[in-house]
Symmetry: none
Subunit: 72 residues, 2 copies
């Protein structure tokens, strides 16, 4: 039984928040350190989750600033 990787779980949670409007377009999603604390994971794992959302073009990352929900 393949357990769902945590980075996928975290991505799913963030995706749900975005689709529920809890994270609105243009809004900044929680930073990597925040996700680290909220989910109790390492930075790599938090980054991996964000990377999935970026691949889906749900979010856009601005280096040094943050990651934002994409407007549509």
């Amino acid at each position: 039984m393949a357990p769902v990787p945590r980075y996928q779980q975290i991505a799913a949670i963030l995706r749900a928040r975005i689709e529920a409007g809890k994270l609105a377009p243009g809004q900044r999603i929680p930073s990597e350190p925040t996700l680290m604390q909220e989910f109790g994971v390492a930075r790599n794992t938090a980054r991996h989750a964000i990377g999935l959302l970026r691949d889906e073009e749900l979010v856009v990352t601005v280096p040094g600033v943050g990651t934002f929900v994409r407007s549509r």
Copy 2:
């Protein structure tokens, strides 16, 4: 083989200076850029070391000013 992380080493050095009175209560400890140069580390690493001392309540940080040895 776990080498002692540099941020722990730096924290230990600063802690020793404090306990030896080389850094007296109320006195400002070296700034982050100074620690970077003195120990040849990145800012994150210097900050990590300071963070440990802050967790131990050996120092207090004032944003925009510096980090000071705690009085007791």
